[in-house]
Amino acid sequence: MQTEFIIKAAEAIHHAINVNESEIESLDREIGDGDHFINLKRGCSSVLDIKEKISVLSAEEALNHIGLKLLSTVGGASGPLLASFFIAYSQSEKENNLDPVNQTSKSFTSGVEAIKKRGKASTGEKTMLDVLIPVSILLNKLANENKDPLEIIPLIKEVALKGVLSTRDMIATKGRAANLGERAIGHVDPGAKSCQIMIETVCDLILNNK
């Protein structure tokens, strides 16, 4: 991965999060405490604040910086989780040297594993992992099958969206919504939604860059 692409992705994500402000905000108001959008916005801004600084770094280093920056600015539940993702992703980029698709799949999976570990959670608990785990499984599968990136992207986007929707009918067992019991049913998880937006944004960026 290129640092330039990382910065472009950060800018695109910042934009996409802002565009979806009201949806993200109201989802967290419904079954959380209403700050998920603000937390993400703060995180995105802080990453763009260090744009210049990371633009001269390797992709691994840039990702690690982003992780640490998120860790010290986002707060809440999503802060340490997203930070863990980027730190682990960076670590995996450092430790492996595979072809682009397999490398992405491996690093993404490391990131998701870090979230699982930090959040002590898995699928079916009405969290961002209901998007992230299916995406990482699919990525692995497609990488094993040696699929073309352009073929992969629409499938990823589809699975991410399915993941979001799957949270609607779940009772939450992790995060703030877990306190709601049955009352959480019928509401989509805000973290799942924001992750899906971020994934879709990066997918579209890759498509447009091709």
Binding site: R29, D33, G34, N39, A77, G79, R118, R176, G181, R183
Partner: protein, 334 residues
């Protein structure tokens, strides 16, 4: 949204500056990253650090000082603080006997403190407070939330730490107090996170939210508004039932600390009325209220409502509750 605010993004820093300047004899403010610490560093004691989202004042900044916390790390409003705050605060207040975190059990707080714990060079331990009985523990795996009982934990452990006890003893006492605390809250109105600019939830004039969280999270259920005695009875009974569920036997003549905590907009007049109602009810159950606290100790921005906390005392807890404390919002014996 009508608040005393200049710029929504500056609320926290301006408020912290006001706090630090009003209490400059007691505390000092660090801004990058944000934490409040005692102005006179304590020596040779376990360093007690708490923290959490802002909007619950005086929790936790108001409890920094002799006999209570060494530092508090305020997050953005209703958002947990970040590990760098706890790590930096620990560097400033650790005095050789390790660091004890007091953390309210919310996923965000837990994870941020956990990462701080992993990343810091000091021996450390964590007390997770989880006194909110409105969350049924067995069904939902994140466990109960930590609410106003946290104040009691901070006071009692703070006293023991001040006496020079070691990290393990402090952690043990904190866990005991937490175990012997039960709380439940009721909201009559919602609250507005300034950055969001609108009410966290909608509630009608004839409704109350039983078991509300201190972030205005929905609680057990929406119920019809009714008279205070009936609301209070449901609250007290929920706490007592929960003690039973957790196999905490209450014996006749057990001594109780009764904390009636206002969320903000409920006048002291009403808080004392709630206290009266709860105390009378506890008396009929042969429980003896021997210590009490009535006021706004763990708030939710401008929410109207109140929580009740019962803490079953024993000699050790009572002694450490009674010992001197000197903070901005809790002070006696000094």
């Amino acid at each position: 949204m009508k608040k005393f605010v200049n710029n929504v993004d500056d609320i926290l820093v301006e408020s912290l500056n006001g706090f630090a300047s009003a209490h400059h004899d007691l505390v000092e403010l660090n801004l990058e990253p944000k934490f409040i610490m005692r102005s006179k560093k304590a020596s040779n004691k376990v360093a007690l650090i708490s923290g959490g989202g802002s909007g619950h004042e005086p929790l936790h900044n108001g409890y920094v000082g002799y006999g209570m916390l060494d530092a508090a790390c305020p997050g953005h409003i209703f958002t947990s603080p970040t590990p760098d705050q706890m790590i930096e605060a620990a560097h400033k207040v650790e005095s050789g006997k390790g660091v004890l975190f007091i953390v309210k059990n919310y996923t965000g707080d837990v994870m941020n403190f956990e990462m701080a714990s992993e990343m810091m060079p000091f021996k450390n331990a964590t007390i997770l407070t989880c006194d909110d009985v409105s969350v049924i523990n067995s069904t939902y795996t994140t466990g109960r939330r930590g609410v106003a009982g946290t104040v009691i934990v901070e006071k009692v452990v703070g006293s023991l730490a001040e006496k020079g006890a070691d990290l393990e003893s402090c952690k043990k006492l904190g866990d005991k107090v937490n175990h012997r605390c039960g709380s439940i809250g009721v909201a009559l109105t919602s609250c507005i996170v300034p950055a969001a600019g609108r009410s966290t939830f909608e509630i009608q004039d004839n409704e109350l939210e039983m078991g509300v969280g201190i972030h205005g999270e929905p609680g057990r259920r929406r119920e019809p508004m009714r008279d205070a005695d009936s609301i209070v009875a449901d609250m007290v009974n929920a706490i007592l039932e929960d003690f039973e569920l957790r196999d905490i036997k209450l014996c006749p003549d057990d001594e109780i600390l009764l904390l009636v905590n206002g969320f903000a907009a409920t006048p002291l007049l009403e808080l004392y009325l709630i206290y009266n109602s709860a105390a009378k009810l506890l008396k009929t159950k042969n429980l003896r209220v021997v210590r009490s606290l009535v006021g706004n100790y763990t708030t939710s921005l401008e929410m109207a409502g109140a929580s009740i906390t019962l803490c079953i005392l024993d000699q050790e807890i009572k002694e450490n509750w009674d010992s001197p404390v000197h903070t901005a919002s809790l002070r006696w014996g000094i």
